[in-house]
Subunit: 340 residues, 4 copies
């Protein structure tokens, strides 16, 4: 950390900073410039963070140098990780397709969507039984009934299940059905939920908050990792910006940036970021080309009747094109489509 | 609602829309323009919302006209509401000062902060026992021990307590101590928590998500109201923008806008939006002048030792100025400082 | 356009709207809902736009339905356009690589950068002689001397030149050297400049303002087109968001969105959006995969000595990888690299 | 400045940085931490800025410590400045009301608006003759004819004139009529224009770019100041955020922040930020309370017929309330309304 003293700070102010730092067992190096003095700190960052240096007289700013997450950081773990979900790998060298309906509605709709997904090359089935909805008047999901449908479709198709959990106290229930727990964008800073999934013994897909910086996303992953669970897959799904032509703005650069900062796999959700069907294929191609470890896509046998996010679900014609894309594009970036 | 047809939509596409709308028991009015056809819908918006019109062939856009919240809307409730917290009113005609420490640390610190707050004109005591923190390595609050300290300080000072709850399953515990439950900015779309506080029988302070539109904020309030609790106070605390000179950007316009859309009281948190002590007084003055129903402010007897957000806590000198501000400014906008 | 009446609007208010619309020679269709009345307007949008309907009593909102640009819109021009720059095409079917130094510094540096670019597959040379810089203390470019260097390098390499113009009154000078005029992100709404380049008889590359919506970008293109110049290439180069890990956030979705709304070619600048060398290749791959008609990239023979944006310039090792990418990836999305 | 070395940087990388810094005549202080080495630099920041340290091997980041503007900075000019416009002061101790029509349309409309403004307490007249419009199809202003109308109204009312200039080459013409030149939000980084108004010998009102950080705003002011003109008034007018309930989000905190960083006066435009008439008075009160040195407000005798921004213009009834506000509120924050 570096403490930047204000232009008007006196020698006594600088000394006070040095003394507080040293009394905490750390070292302080003072550099006196023409207009400013800066103090470089060497020691335990967590400890230094509690010293409240920013509140001291004469301090203009405190700049953190090292990253505030450890377990998920790539600094001490240079090899990128592979996370396995019911035997299906997500990580370097492969490109994993996860697909399925936004919401589980009926056994038939879920099975059809799964078969469509599988035909396109998907090896993991997504589907929501608990849906976080902005409006209290919108469809909230089937709950445990939906989980049972997912389990039946898994038995039928052999596809492991990825499904969302929205309340810390449902984690045990959802874990008893799911192969992978999804934490949604609105819950990325629901710390009680993060801690609960950290203790659940299941891989976790952590969607980036649409409002969250990449650093906050990695800190949210750190919450999960701290409970002993390092099987975390990061999922970029668009951020909120001033642009209204798309539902959110897909931050495609987040993939290489997060892969450089963290050893965890990073995938992209092209369906929710764009919010429109005609954007899904172009964004899927961009996701694979930029180096994502996977993509997660909404499919629905009858999107015009979907209870949730119908306008962005792929339909049959699109799926042939999707199948071609996930087969042909990964080899150009040194990957192969994950198969079972 | 209005359905905007694409330029290339044919007559059959328009008819399909009309038929789906009419089959749902609603009416459709077709207006044919030179380049476009639009279809105006009259009927139950919730029902129309489930028809997935946006996914139909030839539909370019669906524009919602009426607001998606009802219970908190001012349309059917033109008089602005007063919410009472342990007898202290928040609403039109008054300006209520809520103050206290960001986090409860010790009985002494909390009592001193409460007395400082009271001397400045505060009638409600804020203080966090459960703290949602971005980093898993930061101080997370004292939990129930903190709640007991707050109750003791209430007994000593007579000030009702406002405190945060971060997990749906703590609502009962926190409600057994608190006079008002606070839902924090990172939990504004934690729907499980919103529903739990809706059933708790305590007034709720709902902080705006730093990423949330005013409409989403009111929809979150609707979640609480739906459980039968209309004692909700909205609290603007800054939104995330590209500007980094302040922690967040205080959206001062949100006060008149939300007061016009909803009958609920709206207050401002000048401490967390700016994140710097020297901004608290100017922003408090702006908050009162713009017509806020109250302000909520961090105070700490020794901010340089605070475990949470020390740099923004007001200290003794500032408090004399605050006392003057909250006494002299409200009358100029037709309000008086709330007293007990 | 659709006029949404306020809930409290009376019949007289509705009539006043209808009369003003009809007096302007347009038609008004009234739809009366349970809570709201809406009025659909059919007629000349520009004319309707001047009626100030939003300011009338009882009007809650005015929603525009058709797009506010015409000449660049794809509605009346369904085929996507090809823009030729000194004989080099930019448009559907091809993928054009534009590369060169951010700023022209010396004849040697410019020639070397051009040869590096050409070896990687570039057919157009970029290079700035007039540089808009945020700080008045930063290098502002060589001016006409830089243009002469560019012309010499064109003579030597055969590559047509793309270069920026920052002042309406330099357009004639710059046009006398350049094959394509670039309007930079900070000038996207410099309307005097847009009109000047519209009359210059040279193709124009219009960078998206880092603060501009896609609609505003197309309106800026409309300013140029209105002066009779339809040889416009749109260039996405990142928008400003809350994320600070990258210089700007590349809005990759803007490519398919703008290509659907407008017939103009759309290219991507992966160098300026990310602002870091290690992001350039992944973002270039994403750009090609998403369907961009071209990419524009910074190269510099000695980036550590560059006077402008050195940290993002590609160096020799990267260029071999770039050459491979621009050769192998376009065929997978139905394009071929433009050659001369 | 501080150079942060990457975790993997070697001793040779650190030495290379030190040598480059010292060869530029500056000093480098190396602090070796457990994970990182940082190098503190002391010397001429402009010179250091050209060394491209960020591009060197092993460098993770370069953090600037001192501010990049000098002439407008408060560091070397602790007293806040007063700018006089035709004898009317804007600065500490006073609160100056500037008002008038958004666009000059006719002599009658302009005179009536000026008289309304004057009756409300305004001492400066605003009015646009050159209008920068997002759409090429919108009213672009009367040009020099508008300037002549403003001059006539100044002769009639005695109010000095503030008017916008949009092209560097109109500066001389506009200066021959205007008492103060306005640079609009879309031109805040039109550097050619900034330099031209810097040399015009007239006070300048510099609107903040709706996309600009406070630092960039002050750098734009530095461009003007560099040409010898320090009579600059900064005007906050709202920034672009994700919130769509208001046209822009008024960044009220920008006033105390900019006043602390710069000695220049800072005013607020409540009309353009909110974009709605009912927000103008609340935001004006907030502006005065937060400590703005002035406010600039749209008034129009017949807003429903205005050719520009009619929906936000104040009308007669509002103006009585405005007159009361600008008279009664400033004394509470230690100011008095500027009179002539």
């Amino acid at each position: 950390m570096v403490v930047v003293m204000a232009a008007e700070a006196g020698e006594a102010d600088v000394q006070a900073v040095v003394e507080r730092v040293e009394s905490a067992g750390a070292e302080a190096f003072v550099s006196r410039g023409v207009n400013r003095t800066i103090v470089g700190l060497v020691g335990d960052v967590e400890r230094l963070g509690t010293l409240n240096l920013r509140g001291m007289r004469g301090v203009a700013d405190v700049v953190r140098i090292s990253v505030p997450y450890k377990l998920v950081s790539r600094e001490n773990h240079p090899d990128r990780s592979v996370v396995r979900v019911g035997g299906v790998p997500i990580g370097p060298g492969t490109m994993t397709l996860i697909a399925g309906p936004c919401a589980v509605e009926t056994p038939e709709q879920t099975l059809q969507a799964a078969q469509m997904a599988q035909a396109a090359g998907a090896t993991l089935l997504r589907g929501g039984a608990f849906k976080p909805r902005t409006s209290p008047y919108a469809f909230q999901g089937l709950g445990e009934k939906g989980l049972r449908i997912l389990a039946e479709v898994r038995a039928e198709t052999g596809m492991p299940i990825v499904t969302e959990v929205v309340d810390a106290h449902d984690v045990e229930l959802v874990s008893s059905y799911a192969d992978m727990l999804q934490v949604g964008t609105r819950n990325m800073q629901n710390f009680a939920l993060l801690q609960a999934v950290g203790g659940a013994g299941r891989p976790v897909m952590l969607k980036r908050g649409f409002n969250a910086t990449i650093e906050e996303w990695l800190m949210a992953a750190e919450y999960i990792a701290q409970r002993g669970n390092l099987d975390i897959v990061l999922c970029e799904r668009g951020i909120r910006t001033f642009e209204t032509a798309t539902r959110n703005t897909l931050d495609i650069s987040a993939v290489p940036v997060a892969q450089r900062l963290s050893h965890l796999p990073v995938i992209i959700d092209p369906s929710h970021s764009g919010g429109r069907r005609e954007l899904v294929l172009p964004l899927t191609r961009a996701a694979i080309a930029v180096g994502a470890d996977g993509v997660i896509i909404d499919v629905h046998p009858h999107p015009e009747e979907a209870l949730c996010d119908g306008p962005q679900a792929l339909v049959n014609g699109d799926l042939r094109e999707l199948a071609k894309t996930v087969r042909d594009l990964p080899p150009l970036v040194g990957r192969t489509l994950t198969t079972v």
